[in-house]
Amino acid sequence: MALNLRERSEQDLKFSLEGEWALPVVLIDPDGNKLDTNQNTGEPLTGQVLYDSVKDNPQTGAPVVTNKPVVTLRRSSLSRTPEAGEKWFVQIPVDPSTTATLESFQLDKERPPEGGRSIGFIRIYLRRVKQS
């Protein structure tokens, strides 16, 4: 049976999110379990990483570029997905290189993960963390 359009779009995420632009990503769930393997391929987990995001300053309305990374992953590659309100950590490379050291960020409590269930991706917003 032929795949419908949405299923084909989901299949395309393998190229758009996990293709040559992808960077290694490690999710750490609230219990401390590391999700670093792609469920579909068994290879290391990868996704799209944007290091800066644009947000409107609530006081002035002016757009501000902030160092708050946004990570987009293919849902079917994950054994578990972050839910709003959960304490997850996400490790991404310190710079856009597949061999760079991983740096830990925390899920932004103010911006819960965005669904994308209709196609099959999840977008998660990160916040920088300081050593306590």
Partner: protein
């Protein structure tokens, strides 16, 4: 803007004294004292223990009483003490990033991580307590001036604002209203003797109404 000749009123002395003799010496690395209103600042400037206490004269009541015209004027001053803190998320990254950490250790570190808004709230409560205790300390009854200079010193209101996210930081502000009573001497103002004077008269030779620049139409 400074002028050559300026009468300093007592409320200005009190403002400077709050900054230089009361809040400033008590900093001890816990906050920074700023002496004027600022329109905007970067969250990074007030991060952690760089939190700020900003003091400025806010308003005053000068009730008219018998003898007011001849003697000193009673001035009920209100000073705004603005507090600002910024925080970022905190966690034991040494454990989370260590590949040899067990799942349980990483899980415990994640659960113990602190949210920036929670930290900002607690930091602000601490700063409010510090500022209140300093301002209401019996030894600061005269707000750092010589005894008898100030009366009725009182912190009459504390207001905490909403948390604002500024990029990767969370910013929280609050204000304390400090009121006191001082006596103002009215010595008059002699004006400023400058190097030159500006003629403010509009003198247009052909203007029949003269010196106003406005003519009246006649029919």
């Amino acid at each position: 803007m400074a002028t050559d000749f300026m009468n300093i009123m007592q409320f200005q002395n009190v403002r400077d004294s709050i900054i230089n003799n009361v809040l400033g010496p008590a900093e001890k690395g816990r906050y920074r004292t700023v002496g004027a209103q600022r329109q905007a600042k970067a969250a990074e400037e007030i991060l952690g223990y760089k939190r700020e206490i900003i003091t400025y004269y806010h308003s005053g009541d000068i009730p008219k009483g018998a003898g007011s015209n001849a003697g000193q004027a009673q001035h009920d001053c209100s000073f705004r003490i603005e507090l600002a803190v910024a925080m970022e998320n905190e966690a034991n990254l040494a454990v989370i990033n260590d590949p040899s950490s067990t799942i349980e250790q990483v899980g415990a570190a994640i659960q113990a991580s602190a949210d920036a808004s929670f930290l900002a709230d607690r930091s602000m409560d601490e700063l409010i307590a510090i500022a209140y205790q300093i301002l209401m300390d019996p030894k600061n009854y005269d707000l750092g001036l010589k005894p008898g200079s100030v009366a009725n010193r009182w912190v009459s209101a504390i207001q905490k604002d909403d948390v604002i996210t500024e990029g990767e930081y969370v910013v929280l502000t609050a204000s304390i209203l400090l009121t006191c009573r001082v006596a103002e001497d009215v010595v008059g103002d002699a004006g400023v003797s400058g190097d030159f004077t500006i003629d403010t008269v509009i003198d247009q030779p052909d203007d029949d109404v003269e010196k106003t620049g406005i003519t009246t139409a006649t029919t």
